[in-house]
Symmetry: C2
């Protein structure tokens, strides 16, 4: 198709890197590990944000904003939390630059050293729980259901656009509750909301589960997650929701007066999803011709390309197209009529395929004569000629059908890539030759988990929420086990 895009079968990783840049989603910046999210990529992210934000608000959450900087002493208050983030954080030590006295340029002013270093937030539990101490006195102040849209920084050494960047955008929910039960219900609710968002809007099937202790968020009692499967058979964690117990309440001394008058520590959750979802979206649906976007998240849902010679013909086509554009917009469908005279139709076809626009209409002289449009759908690349009278209904059908079809395709792929195994040899064979999730009995020990990771690079992605109780034996140690867990190599 002339897009010079590496094929997935040749080099999946290279295909991804090229596609993200060529489809104008994002690119690397001059700052190590930090990306620039380009307008087309950001428009998709805005649609994700709008939908998630709506779902959060419908479940009673409000947005707020907390400081970018976290004093080093705050981060240090919860022991496992700081252990998890200390190794990869950006530290602000000074607050001024000045001209070097030897005229060599601009230098950091050594006289402007901060008394206490500030960490650029890798996540905001500590600064938020320091705030909640002031906000929570009584059971009347609970539950506190807050979300923040923000940028965070984790100094990753090996970065990839969207999947792993030093700075990324995300939302982080932080809630406070009077009871353990209510906090657990909240953490589960948010996992379910992420799953609903992933499946219904991203058209990306996910498995809901809980993390093993070693994969838990630093400071959490339990981490719930949703795990998706990419086309190359690697898993991707697409959202996490943590039950934090009273860990942060204790670290920041946040107590409340119960109805009965006693003082108790507050129960907490936190939950987040990030621009990583952009990477998941790309890798779930796209093909060797470029992006394939679900209609619900596509910035442009329908593009109309006129095929014409000369201004007169373009004017005639424009007149025909104008009421269609208007009608589609009135139905909330975003349409672009690409009448640029600087590019030929073939170039435009390629461009919109690359950018994953779900439906493309083309209209030339023959269509003008016959009262038709050529309608092409991006997911299957099928084309057909449709009567002008039927084209709106066709487009409405395609908006739903493409959304449904790409979800089903991803689901079929996942179904054929969950393999139950009962021996370690079989486990290694499946991982090596087929990929995907491998469902196996595990004895529940960190030791076995690490041995498998060291030997195969596969980690336990989750213990699925709907895992049945079974009688089995660990594939490595042979010890008794009661549940199958899902292993996979992962992003």
């Amino acid at each position: 198709m002339g897009k010079n895009l590496t094929k997935r079968a040749e080099d999946y990783s290279k295909w991804y890197n090229e596609l993200v840049v060529k489809a104008d989603l994002a690119e690397n910046s001059g700052v190590r590990g930090c990306m620039v999210i380009k307008p087309y990529g950001f428009a998709i992210w805005e649609k994700m944000q709008a939908q998630l934000d709506k779902m959060f608000k419908e479940t009673g959450h409000e947005n707020a904003y907390f400081p970018l900087f976290i004093p080093k002493s705050y981060l240090s208050k919860e022991a496992s939390h700081v252990a998890g983030f200390a190794k990869e954080c950006a530290v602000v030590t000074h607050y001024r630059l000045k001209n070097a006295e030897d005229g060599s340029g601009i230098i950091v002013d050594p006289d402007a050293k901060l008394e206490e270093e500030l960490i650029v937030r890798p996540t905001s539990e500590t600064i938020i729980w320091d705030t909640y101490r002031r906000w929570i006195q009584s059971y009347r102040d609970l539950p506190l259901l807050i979300n923040q849209w923000a940028n965070v920084v984790r100094w990753e050494m090996r970065t990839r656009l969207f999947l792993r960047t030093a700075e990324f955008l995300w939302q982080e929910g932080h809630t406070a509750h009077a009871t353990e039960k209510e906090a657990i219900a909240e953490a589960e609710q948010m996992m379910n909301i992420y799953a609903e968002f992933a499946e219904e809007h991203m058209a990306m099937p996910v498995i809901k589960g809980i993390k093993t202790e070693s994969e838990r968020f630093a400071g959490a009692v339990e981490t719930y997650c949703i795990e998706a499967l990419m086309q190359d058979g690697k898993a991707l964690q697409a959202g996490t929701s943590h039950f934090l117990g009273q860990n942060f309440a204790k670290a920041f001394d946040v107590k409340f007066a119960t109805k009965e008058g006693s003082q108790e520590y507050v129960w907490a959750t936190s939950w987040g999803a990030s621009t990583r979802l952009m990477g998941a979206l790309v890798m779930t649906h796209s093909d060797d011709n470029g992006l394939v976007l679900p209609p619900k998240l596509a910035p442009i849902q329908v593009v109309i390309v006129p095929i014409y010679k000369g201004e007169e013909q373009l004017d005639a086509i424009s007149d025909r197209v104008a009421p269609l554009v208007k009608e589609l917009r009135s139905k909330g469908i975003s349409v672009k009529f690409d009448n640029r005279d600087t590019h030929k139709p073939g170039f435009k076809f390629n461009e919109y395929e690359l950018k994953g626009v779900p439906v493309r209409l083309a209209i030339g002289q023959r269509d003008m004569d016959n009262g038709t449009y050529e309608v092409a759908r991006r997911d299957t690349l099928e084309k057909e000629t449709v009567n002008a009278d039927d084209v709106v209904a066709k487009i409405e059908f395609l908006m739903e059908d493409i959304q449904r079809n790409i979800f089903q395709k991803a689901l079929d792929h996942r179904k054929t890539h969950i393999t139950e195994v009962n021996s370690y040899d079989e486990f290694k064979e499946v991982l090596e030759n087929k990929g995907g999730f491998v469902s196996a009995f595990w004895d529940g020990t960190l030791e076995t988990e690490e041995k498998i990771k060291d030997e195969t690079k596969a980690t336990i992605r989750c213990i699925p929420i709907d895992a049945k109780d079974e009688v089995g034996s660990c594939l490595v140690t042979g010890k008794p086990a009661t549940k199958r867990v899902l292993f996979a190599k992962a992003y």
Copy 2:
């Protein structure tokens, strides 16, 4: 009214600080100079964002996202730009923490020093123009019309909630054009959009003008601004739009091929408005009872307070109120029915006055018997009894009338606080006793501007766009002058 709010006449500054906290807009955090924007304050900011974002998109701008960090060498590339920001920037020098070997706690790892220090963006011209070099090759790539919603950091030593904080939220537009004329038109357009937003949505009258050289943005050729007047007679800059000439294109070597095939530097603008607008909103309309919010930006536009004894009466009132709530919401009016049984009506009345809810409905047994509501408007504190059949129409009227009325009130205040003076004595007398804008002839020199600033603390807020050409003489030097400029003490 029992709100324990300092009166404006007693101490305006204290009134403001108290009100921002008591009305749940924002509070200081444990991080020096950084605020926490609380849910109610953030809900107002979200309304501002949504409206501005709509206006930007309607004028062809797209959102994107650029890195938080700026390498020191980038910031240094435009000489006047770095001079303007070097003195107040947060500098990241390290990327890791570790446990101190003596067990004294967590310390910055001296082995994890960055090769080049990173500045937390105080504004993004440099990182963006470094990116634009890759995006712009030809006249076909222009204009490039981009906006970013982001957090920025300027290490201010004296901070005040919303008005001046070390970290703040803002949007920054960065556009690139083929011609000087087009760039100037863009900068003017964005000033006009800010003015329209301020007047029609914030109900805050503003004066459009250009800044003198000394007040210009660091790196700009011309700075356009909108200036508002607060109730205490001090001015507040509420948005700026800069024509940057080719300064950043030259610093970052961004050239484009013209239609004719020559290589030329690109012309630029940038423009921004920030959470400072929240401070302006509070100080423009609010009174000794609390916030007064324009209906267009109020998170809750109508609150309904039931006055009842016992559950049975509350149920009856709830039944009466339910269809009204539904009808108002269907008209896009945000309504809260406050049926909390933990607080008395008087407490609720106080709370919603403090929070500036534009319209309050109360309904008790007498209203139930008579088929009425008590309707109170926040701006004038007037109350009246309205027939249930007329209440929707009344509320719709009030949404418009309150918006109009508070704008008119602010406009009247400003009109009586623009004083033309012709001598320096008169100038000082007006500044001292009346405040507001002082309109005076100025000889155009930096020297005179600084003398006036040193002696009176008044700065030239702007040279109004609509200033007439006149013949006059400078109020300090007596030298010939052709335009009156506006002086004021300012936030």
